[in-house]
Amino acid sequence: MEISITVNGEDYRRDVEPRLLLVHLLRDKLRLTGTHWGCDTSNCGVCVVLLDGVPVKSCTVLAVMASGRQVRTVEGLERSDGLDPVQQGFIDRHGLQCGFCTSGMMMTARWLLDHNPDPSEREIREAISGQVCRCTGYENIVRSVRRAAELEAGS
């Protein structure tokens, strides 16, 4: 099927199998490998991207369902003037170790801060509760998102 999709502000047209998952479109066809794949059951959340501004697990969205819509991935976080505060927050507070869940965590954090610029620890924990990290025990991810909120408030 022919689809047209906007990813990180760029328009792509592709002829894809109807069963192709969005995560595989991004990774294998568009070569945007910053979005990862980690489970078959939409439990782990390493594949989270923003679809029309809302976090989705891209392993449970068909590429054809994203046709005509806007996708934002980790590659679309950096701004022309430098890192997004979320990216900087994760660096400043050691919010990542192996880096595999990081993209999904940061996309959810971006969405959270867009809707709630001053989230509490509890609100951050709830926002990322559908995503799994095996390295950080979540503590520094929570601190990273708080740091991002502070950076954003200060800028």
Partner: protein
């Protein structure tokens, strides 16, 4: 001067830090941009994709495998079966413990999920499609699921592939002094006994395992991109399996999305990808899916333990005994030093002064996936520590003593170090009582006990409050080469350090980061030794063509072994720099001293030469003394003199809903002593992750099986991992007891919290509900049953 003249380059205004401290990680820049290079991110020209057909049965004879329909699928380029591999002598491969494991099954399948056939196709959807076109006829056999029945006379024989094998027994192993232990038990006031299961769990890194094999038919060179925690060991094993010469094999490990011991072994599908590349002449990528990861790759634990502890009536522990049945699965794929078939389990006297100890470990095969040594277990010290820390609480329960007081009474005292324990381990350093006191203070232990007493008095439907302790000691940094090898490869690590003419450095190591921050930590080690910025030191790992030989990263050995190598090689460079600096200063090397990151004439700071200047001179025409070659580069192989012994004291506070058995971890205090901390931020991150592992294993994680050997935890729907909602905000403290034999006193931290934390959580839950023992995972249903006095075996669902 004209306006267009290029200004002289000025130094950056803020000085970059040198040496140890919590600096941001060098590796983060790529990960926060989504620019990591995980194996599935790599795409090579003309690459094909593999998929594995797996057995639906736990135990069955293979009658026939018909691949004819799959072979004619328009996108399929090759289909590989066990019989095809057998003709090339590749149907079986060695495991890390000297057993053999089927690459693709030829005779029987021995666990559910075992590899039966491998399809190579033009894309991975097509490869998956073609799997359904392969017809396999199985003759189901009775499955052996319960390790406790493995040696029964009527147990099905699993390993009939091995000549002369008549039962499912793998090994018996013992350590300690049996006579002394028996004597102590015979005369003790009190003996506490308990059956304790450390169930089968799985490391489940977020990135599953995978490989890309690419054979260049012209040069004969095989390149394997792989999720490998031990690239050099993998290269040697591939040479053995494939018959290709080792110098024509290159392993590239790239970025690894978490390992935790899951990526130490070589898996059958890696070998299949190599065969696929040999057959097609194209690179072949294979990435497993989550169910494949959970069902077929290295699991952890599965130790059925019987513990006995002998003590005086006032709580002095006299002796310890353990009898263990280990379930290894269908093949012995445990990854640990050869001389220790049960790993380091016999360090089970832990942190206490116990005069006599004896343990016996018997291991058996069952119809389950192979593995056992993984999930940050420190070569089975996880099992030993859990057993002991549970037994101490059981003893406290039986004596009616406070578990903190009982621990304090028996901890090793600082003056006993170096201490040789009853089973022969020589502990390097520690001040255990200080560490425990700090943990109790941070937790407000006495206040917590008062709150608990008040709650108990109040009764009603209020949550039941529990306080749990653990005090663990690990032995990490395997290991002294004389004692430790894997498949005959001694466990020493190489390091190479190059100093470029401008004073920038490249450090090449054999270990392999899976998120531990090696690029930063090891740069800081060299920075500290040479007085140059960590930004000026590039750390190279994971590519066997670019790095010296060594055994890789697992068992918390990176800082202890490769860290030692990094120090030694940097000091070699510094010693060479002294000779060059002496020539620069027209002095004798003996007249120089190393001060504040520079070589200077003793007592004359103005003569100081920094490493960068010396590096420039070392590459210049400067005349050097006879016999000095120039340049500053150095290499070393670090063979650790002993293991290092990190330890810690943990306090967990939980609230349990008496109606549902739901456990809420309210607080977790962790005081770790890992010797010198190079990057405290990274160390704390390592601890955080391990504490979450402990919460997961204690409360949620379990690989159970039904009577037919069907895996009941084969997806993240069923194998539950802790999320941000189950984890509290961790409260960390530290003490610092440098290791006296490590060049910078560091001990390693990678696995400490995973080893130490499960017991603290379990002890807290059992303290809350007033039950002497119940096995992990303490799910709501299981806690509720334990409260009713009807605890279950958690590992088998035989009804």
């Amino acid at each position: 001067m004209t306006a267009t003249q290029i200004p002289a380059r000025v130094p950056t205004p803020t000085p970059t830090p040198v040496g140890y401290g919590s600096i941001p990680r060098k590796e983060d820049a790529r990960f926060v941009r989504g620019r990591g290079s995980f194996v599935d991110d790599v795409q090579l020209p003309g690459m094909l994709y593999g998929a594995v057909l797996r057995s639906p049965y736990a135990h069955a004879r293979i009658v026939s495998v018909d691949i004819s329909a799959a072979e004619v699928h328009p996108k399929v380029r090759a289909v590989i079966t066990g019989d095809m591999l057998d003709k090339r002598g590749m149907a079986w491969m060695p495991t890390l413990f000297g057993d053999v494991q089927a690459v693709l099954a030829t005779d029987k399948v021995r666990f559910q999920g075992q590899e039966v056939a491998f399809v190579v196709a033009e894309d991975h959807y097509a490869a998956r499609d073609a799997l359904s076109l392969i017809e396999v006829e199985y003759e189901p056999l009775p499955a052996l699921v319960d390790a406790k029945l493995a040696l029964a006379p009527d147990a099905p024989l699993i390993r009939d592939d091995l000549d002369g094998r008549t039962d499912n027994h793998v090994f018996d192993w013992s350590a300690g002094n049996k006579a002394a232990t028996d004597d102590a038990f015979a005369t003790a006031d009190v003996v506490a006994e308990c059956e304790i299961l450390y169930p089968r769990v799985h490391p489940a890194p977020m990135e599953t395992c995978g490989a890309i094999a690419s054979l260049d038919r012209v040069s004969g060179k095989l390149t394997v991109y792989a999720t490998s925690q031990a690239p050099h060991a993998h290269r040697t094993m591939y040479a053995q399996v494939t018959g290709l010469p080792e110098h024509k094999i290159q392993i590239i490990a790239g970025d690894i999305g978490g390992g935790f011991g899951n990526k130490v072994a070589i898996y059958p599908a890696y070998v299949c990808a190599i065969v696929g590349s040999i057959l097609t002449g194209c690179p072949v990528k294979w990435t497993e899916d989550r169910s494949e990861n959970l069902m077929s790759t290295a699991f952890a634990r599965d130790f059925h333990m019987h513990g006995e502890i002998a003590a005086t009536s006032d709580g002095k522990i006299l002796a310890l005994r353990a009898n263990v049945l280990a379930d290894l699965g269908a093949f012995n794929g445990t990854a640990q030093p050869t001389k220790f078939p049960a790993g380091f389990f016999h360090m089970f006297t832990g942190s206490y002064d116990i005069a006599a100890a004896h343990c016996e470990v018997r291991s058996v095969h069952t119809n389950k996936a192979p593995g056992g040594v993984a999930y940050s277990c420190s070569f089975r010290i996880a099992e030993a520590s859990y057993l002991l820390e549970r037994m101490v609480d059981v003893l406290a329960h039986d004596l009616g003593m406070d578990p903190a007081q009982l621990r304090m009474r028996n901890l090793l005292r600082p003056e006993q170090f170096p201490y040789t324990c009853a089973t022969g381990w020589e502990y390097d350093s520690g001040d255990y009582p200080t560490t425990l006191r700090l943990a109790l203070e941070m937790a407000g232990y006495d206040e917590l006990r008062r709150e608990q007493a008040a709650r108990r008095e109040g009764g009603g439907d209020a949550p039941l409050m529990g306080i749990g302790l653990s005090f663990f000691t690990e032995a990490v940094g395997a290991g002294p080469r004389k004692m430790m090898d894997i498949l005959g490869l001694g466990m020493a690590d190489g390091a190479e350090l190059r100093l470029h003419p401008t004073g920038k450095a490249v450090l090449r190591l054999s270990c392999m980061s899976q998120g531990q921050g090696h690029a930063t930590t090891f740069a800081q080690i060299v920075s500290q030794e040479l007085g140059i910025s960590p930004d000026d030191i590039e750390v190279v790992e994971g590519d066997t063509d670019q790095t010296p030989f060594g055994l890789g990263t697992y068992g918390s050995r990176s800082t202890a072994v490769s860290g030692g190598a990094a120090v030694v090689v940097a000091r070699k460079v510094r010693d060479r720099a002294r000779i060059v600096a002496a020539a620069m200063l027209e002095a004798l090397p003996d007249d120089l001293e190393w001060a504040e990151g520079r070589w200077q004439v003793k007592g004359v700071p103005s003569t100081g030469k920094a490493i960068a200047e010396i590096a420039t001179a070392a590459h210049s025409g400067l005349e050097l003394p006879e016999g000095v070659e120039g340049h500053l580069d150095a290499t070393t192989v670090y063979n650790p003199p002993n293991l290092t012994y990190p330890y810690g004291a943990y306090v967990c506070v939980v609230d349990v809903d008496p109606g549902t058995g739901q456990v809420k971890v309210r607080r977790f205090v962790a005081v770790d002593d890992c010797g010198v901390r190079i990057n405290p931020m990274i160390v704390e991150g390592q601890i955080h992750g391990g504490l979450a592992d402990g919460v997961g294993m204690a409360l949620m994680e379990l690989m159970a099986f039904d009577a037919n050997g069907n895996h009941l935890g084969a997806s993240f729907m069923d194998y539950l991992l802790p999320t941000s909602m189950e984890c509290p905000s961790w409260e960390l403290g530290q003490t610092v007891s440098p290791s006296p034999h490590h060049p910078i006193g560091a001990k390693g931290i990678g696995e400490s919290a995973t080893v130490g934390s499960p017991a603290a959580v379990v002890n807290a839950v059992l303290d809350a509900i007033g039950v002497r023992h119940a096995d992990m995972p303490l799910t709501p249903a299981h806690v509720w049953r334990a409260m009713q006095g009807r605890a279950l075996r958690t590992d088998v669902a035989l009804e």
